[in-house]
C-alpha cells in the first residue's frame, strides 16, 4: 500500500507539473518556464539531390536528400530535436529549366533525428543550422530540367527539453 500511495503521489505531481508547464498557469509561468514553439526558417543547402537510382541512394557522404533549416529556440532551456515531419514540397527550377514539383517527394513522412549525434538547440539560440538527413528524394524519372532546382519543404520539428 505504501508503494501504491507513492505511485499516486508521483503521478499526481508529474501531471500537475506537466500541465502548468504546457499551459503556463502554474507558479513557474511568470519565471519564463512556459514552453514556446521553436521558430523555423529555411537554411542553406549544402548537398545535392539527384534522381534516385534503382535500389535507393547509396550511402554517401554527404547524405543525399538532406533538408536544411535554421532553428531558433526562444525557451530558457535547451531543446533536443527528436524528429522532423516533412509536409508540402515545392520546387523552383533554375533559369530556362522546367521541373514539376511532383519530381521531388518526401523520403519518409517523419524522419527520426540521429541519436548518435543529438541535435540540441541551446536556450535563446537565434540561428542553429539543422540538417534533416534523407528527408526528400527525387524520382528516377525526373527530367534533366530538375538539375539545380531549389526544393522548399515544410518541416515540423518535435523536440524535448534536453
Amino acid at each position: 500500500m505504501v508503494v501504491l500511495g507513492a505511485a499516486l503521489l508521483v503521478a499526481g505531481g508529474g501531471v500537475a507539473t506537466a500541465n502548468w508547464l504546457l499551459e503556463g498557469t502554474g507558479p513557474g509561468a511568470t519565471s519564463g518556464a512556459t514552453i514556446q514553439p521553436l521558430e523555423v526558417s529555411a537554411g542553406t543547402p549544402t548537398t545535392g539531390l539527384y534522381p534516385e537510382p534503382t535500389g535507393g541512394y547509396p550511402s554517401l557522404s554527404p547524405a543525399v536528400g538532406t533538408v536544411v533549416a535554421q532553428v531558433r529556440n526562444p525557451n530558457s532551456f535547451p531543446v533536443r530535436l527528436t524528429s522532423a515531419t516533412v509536409g508540402q514540397i515545392d520546387v523552383t527550377a533554375a533559369a530556362n529549366r522546367t521541373c514539376a514539383a511532383g519530381n521531388v517527394v518526401a523520403a519518409a513522412t517523419t524522419v527520426t533525428m540521429p541519436t548518435a549525434a543529438p541535435v540540441v538547440v541551446a536556450p535563446g539560440a537565434t540561428s542553429v543550422q539543422v540538417m534533416v538527413p534523407a528527408a526528400v528524394r527525387m524520382l528516377p524519372t525526373a527530367p534533366i530540367g530538375c538539375q539545380g532546382v531549389l526544393v522548399n519543404a515544410s518541416l515540423t520539428f518535435a523536440g524535448v527539453p534536453a
Binding site: 523555423v40 529555411a42 539531390l49 554527404p62 534533366i144 515544410s154 524535448v160
Partner: protein, 147 residues
C-alpha cells in the same frame, strides 16, 4: 497477501507508464517552418585516357576516367567512340554494341565503373558523359586517338 502485492505492483507499473506518457506529451516542443534542399548538377565530364593491348591478334582498347565527386550518385556513364570499327563484346557496351561506324556505348548500370574495354580496330578516340537517371551530362572533350 501475495495476490494483493501482485495487484499493487501491476497498478504501480500502469500508473508510472501513464504518468511518463502524459508528462512527456506535455513536454514536447514543436516548431514549424520551411527547410531547403537543392538538386545537384552533373559534374563536368572528365577527359578519358585510352590505352590499348593486343593479345593473339585481338586488340582491346581500355577507356579510363576519374571517379565522380563524393556525394554524386551516378547511375552510369555514356561512352562515345569516334572512328575505327567496333566489334562485339567489351564492357563499354552495357546496353547495345554498335558495329562498324562510330557509336554510343552506354555503360548504364555500371555505377562504380571508372573504366571499360572496347574491342575496336583502327584509330579511335573516346568521350564520356556522366548519367544519373534520365540526366546525361555534356560529353567530355575527345581523348587522344589510338595509334
Amino acid at each position: 497477501m501475495r495476490r494483493r502485492s501482485a495487484a499493487v505492483a501491476v497498478l504501480t507499473v500502469v500508473l508510472a507508464t501513464w504518468t511518463t506518457t502524459a508528462a512527456s506529451a506535455a513536454w514536447d516542443v514543436r516548431g514549424v517552418g520551411p527547410g531547403q534542399a537543392a538538386a545537384g548538377v552533373l559534374p563536368a565530364s572528365p577527359v578519358p585516357v585510352v590505352t590499348e593491348q593486343t593479345v593473339l591478334g585481338v586488340r582491346t582498347v581500355t577507356v579510363t576516367w576519374p571517379a565522380p565527386p563524393d556525394g554524386v550518385p551516378l547511375t552510369g556513364w555514356r561512352v562515345v567512340r569516334s572512328g575505327g570499327t567496333g566489334l562485339l563484346g567489351g564492357t563499354c557496351a552495357g546496353v547495345r554494341t554498335p558495329l562498324g561506324v562510330s557509336g554510343v556505348l552506354t555503360t548504364v548500370g555500371l555505377t562504380g565503373a571508372v573504366s571499360c574495354t572496347d574491342p575496336a580496330t583502327g584509330s579511335v578516340r573516346y568521350a564520356v558523359a556522366p548519367v544519373a537517371g534520365t540526366w546525361v551530362g555534356e560529353p567530355s572533350a575527345w581523348s587522344l586517338p589510338t595509334g
